[in-house]
């Protein structure tokens, strides 16, 4: 049975590690300035944890086989442990775990401690059961007033987020169901939710943030490659959670300006 255990544990370890190492299923291609940093920290963590995983499972299987009792004669070694070893592995584990954490902390700090830089592209994201709306403040750079009493999700866009058209600042606001962003420009995101908590998740940007009713959460990121990327809701928000899906189009600055001008003209 010791041999059976060794075989099972080692085989499980081999297959698990193989699919990690071969990257058969992996993080989607990253297209934001944060992505390389996050992916680096991920790879580092995965390398270190992979080593510990293989070592621990390997040892477990080996010990089970090596110290199997073939009969009930003979005795194990009488030992209650070893304080030096306890201190050693406690210290090493603490250094490994806390060190690893500190190494990734600058990425978190740069993402979340500083506000968006001046000159970034302002976009407001509003989540509601089960759609995302994106608002661009227009030439005045100001978001117009919204009023909960005016919200009508069935009418979509302006009406869905309850835009108060009586407000002068609202006149040039553009509201869409698809997100457009210029490439290589920082995005100054304001996240809102009108009913329950949603989570704005764009795997390719390595971006995720909950949108919480009652809060306006400010975030920023910079997309780095032109293309179309999927948005998925990552917080359980009701029966349509699985289809609360959206698209981000990352385009050139010229195409972005053109797109925004066309939307303004449509109003």
């Amino acid at each position: 049975m010791g041999l059976v255990l060794l075989a099972i544990i080692w085989l499980i370890t081999f297959f698990s590690t193989y699919f990690f190492a071969a990257q058969t299923w992996w993080l989607p291609h990253g297209v934001s300035t944060a992505a390389p940093w996050i992916d680096h920290q991920f790879a580092l963590t995965y390398g270190l944890m992979g080593i510990v995983f293989v070592a621990a499972q390997g040892a477990l299987g080996w010990l089970a086989w090596k110290y199997r009792a073939e009969d009930n004669s003979g005795r194990a070694e009488y030992s209650h442990g070893n304080t030096t070893m306890e201190v050693a592995w406690t210290t090493l584990t603490a250094i490994l775990f806390i060190g690893l954490n500190l190494m990734g902390s600058h990425v978190w700090a740069s993402e979340r401690f500083e506000p968006a830089k001046v000159g970034s592209v302002p976009v407001e994201v509003t989540g509601m059961q089960f759609a995302w709306y994106f608002r661009y403040p227009g030439n005045d750079g100001k978001y117009g007033r919204t009023d909960p009493k005016l919200m009508d999700p069935s009418a979509g866009n302006e009406a869905a987020i309850g835009l108060d058209t009586a407000d002068p600042a609202a006149k040039d606001d553009v509201i869409t169901g698809t997100m457009y962003l210029p490439v290589n420009r920082e995005v100054d995101l304001t996240l809102k939710a009108v009913d329950v908590i949603h989570s704005f998740f764009v795997p390719s940007f390595r971006f995720k943030q909950d949108a919480v009713p009652g809060l306006a959460i400010h975030m920023h990121f910079t997309p780095t490659e032109i293309g179309e990327y999927e948005i998925a809701c990552a917080e359980l928000c009701g029966l349509g959670h699985y289809k609360m899906h959206g698209m981000v189009h990352v385009v050139s600055q010229a195409d972005f300006d053109k797109w925004l001008a066309e939307r303004e003209a449509e109003k």
């Binding site: 299923w25 010990l63 194990a76 442990g81 954490n101 998740f201 999927e230 029966l239």
Partner: protein, 577 residues
């Protein structure tokens, strides 16, 4: 200590109802808890089976169940999580095995408060009935997940199941909290006051340490959840606004104002994180007890194990914010929670090292309980090592609320804890029922369950890395999820096989209860007090006398001793600590 023990003895009851239904005997109550958890685990497992089937065949019409709609899927998910966490992972390891064996292992005739003990079980039973009732009311069971995030859970029109079903769900949890508080008080008092002569704290088996610390965690955590649940009931039914700000649901302005959705998350996880340790600590205790027993070697680093349990208990209360890195909570506090979370990895690692150390130069006997103890260690390592990914806020950005998290907590607090229960069942079954379980079928059950478990949960890490969000009833709407379907299908097939294999366990359990070979008083040649008494133990556990303890719990392979183990009650003179 020992003197007060006798005052708690009560006469053996007469009549079926006092003996088996409303029993005051901790052993009967323990078995009642175990059967309640066994019922709950079968319900919970059946729900997960329906979920896995729906994920890969979203339009399938199942016999008896019919078609599973997206909202049905979310109800299944909510009830699966809630039933498993509360009525299985909290109920069996602590209420079940803890109730039965904590008093015996410390040499007490019963729990400190037998009536409270009975009340605690029957309150848990009522909570379970109320929870199941949520399936049968109009609108069905709630869809807000076991974490019940507000405002989804606090509004009655946020989705189907959020009317009466959600009220029953919160009520059941509140009742469960009351039951757990009663149980926790009993465990703590019993451990502190009813230890036999010579049973010092540092001679207690690690199982007792685990149950004791778990009870302290329960006492501090369930009170908070109870309050949180009451506030949620008020928000739902009396129009208060603890968790709900001004919200508009489907164009309708709701009457709430000024509440904080994050408040629920803080309160819930203040309970929820210690709860993870409530589920796993007893498993750690059982693994330690069994590894030492079947390795025929003292546990490596007994005191380090005790301090590690204490450290896990303490740190377990200051890491709850790691569930909320993406919630809109201050990014600075995310930092603090992250460091504390990494710290809690250290005592967990110490335990693993000590388990491996116990096996070094041992003489391991591979009976079924030991297989499950080794399986526990393997799963604990696998589930534990994904922790340092999720504990880093920056890696939580891509991984939070994906299948990676589902893989992580299922491995560690789900199946590792369940392996602890299997280990405990195979190990203590002879003591509880006086018969041995079938060894061959035990081994077959182990091999299929271990391999099956890994085949189900290891691939979920890959799905999470590839950004598959959790709690999606189907993957038809998102293009990048399509290439993951083969992996999802593989997981479902493995789940079908693994769940099917549990029939082996159920049959073995009930068959052995009536037909298994008679067990001796100490079939595994263990050292702790439950093995010094008859099988099954008499009403007062030790047949009128109180044991006196001379040794620590794991004196195996003692040089100069007649046998390769020294019972805790063997008088001093034998060379042992």
């Amino acid at each position: 200590m020992a003197t007060s023990a006798t005052t708690h003895a009560h006469a053996a009851p007469q009549g079926f109802i006092r003996k088996y239904i409303f029993s005051l005997d901790h052993k009967v109550i323990g078995i009642q808890y175990i059967f309640l958890a066994l019922t709950a685990v079968m319900v919970g497992m059946f729900l997960s089976l329906l979920m896995r089937i729906h994920m890969i065949w979203p339009t399938a019409v199942l016999p008896l169940v019919g078609e599973i709609r997206p909202e049905t899927y979310l109800s299944l998910l909510t009830m699966h999580g809630t039933i498993m966490v509360f009525f299985v992972l909290t109920t069996a390891p602590q209420g079940g095995f803890g109730n039965y064996f904590l008093p015996i292992q410390i040499g007490a005739p019963d729990m400190a408060f037998p009536v409270l003990n009975m009340l605690s079980f029957w309150t848990t039973f009522v909570a379970f009935v109320v929870m199941l009732a949520a399936f049968f009311v109009t609108g069905g069971a709630p869809l807000h997940g076991w974490t019940g995030y507000a405002p989804l859970s606090a509004l009655t029109n946020s989705g189907p199941g959020e009317q009466l079903g959600a009220d029953l769900w919160v009520t059941s949890i509140a009742i469960f909290c009351i039951a757990s508080l009663m149980g926790a008080l009993n465990f703590i008092t019993t451990t502190l006051d009813l230890r036999a002569k010579g049973m010092t704290m540092f001679r207690m088996p690690l199982t007792v340490w685990a149950w004791f610390i778990t009870a302290i965690l329960g006492l501090l955590a369930f009170g908070v959840l109870l309050s949180a649940g009451i506030l949620l009931l008020l928000d739902r039914n009396l129009g208060t606004s603890f968790y709900v700000p001004l919200v508009v649901v489907n164009g309708q302005v709701m009457g709430h104002k000024g509440g904080s959705p994050l408040l629920w998350q803080h309160l819930f996880w203040f309970f929820g994180h210690p709860e993870v340790y409530i589920a796993i600590l007893p498993g750690m205790g059982v693994a330690s007890q069994l590894l030492s027993t079947f390795a025929r070697k003292p546990i490596f680093g007994y005191k380090a194990m005790v301090y590690a349990i204490m450290a896990i208990g303490l740190l377990g209360f200051v890491v709850w914010g790691h569930h909320m890195f993406m919630s809109g909570m201050s990014p600075y506090s995310a930092f603090a929670f992250s460091i504390m979370t990494m710290c809690i990895g250290v005592p967990s690692a110490i335990k693993t090292f000590n388990w491996l150390g116990t096996m070094y130069k041992a003489r391991i006997r591979f009976q079924t309980p030991m297989l499950y103890a080794i399986g526990f260690v393997s799963l604990f390592v696998s589930g534990g090592l994904s922790g340092p990914f999720l504990a880093q806020p920056v890696l939580d950005i891509p991984l939070h609320d994906t299948a990676f998290v589902v893989a992580h907590f299922h491995l560690i607090m789900g199946v590792a804890a369940i392996f602890g229960m299997f280990a405990g069942t195979y190990y203590w079954f002879p003591k509880m029922f006086g018969r041995m379980m079938n060894e061959t079928w035990g081994r077959i059950h182990f091999v299929i369950t271990l391999i099956g478990t890994y085949c189900i949960f290891m691939p979920m890490h890959y799905l999470g890395m590839a950004a598959q969000p959790r709690r999606y009833s189907q993957f038809t709407e998102v293009a990048y999820l399509q290439h993951l379907m083969p992996l999802n299908r593989f997981i479902t097939y493995m789940a079908l096989i693994t769940i099917g294999a549990q029939i082996i366990f159920i049959v073995n359990l009930f068959w052995s209860m009536f037909k298994g070979p008679k067990a001796s008083d100490n079939p595994w040649e263990s050292t702790t007090l439950e093995w010094t008494t008859t099988t099954p133990p008499p009403h007062d556990n030790f047949g009128g006398h109180t044991p006196v303890v001379y040794h620590g719990p794991y004196e195996y392979a003692v040089p100069g001793a007649a046998k390769d183990y020294v019972m805790q009650t063997e008088p001093a003179g034998v060379t042992a600590h």
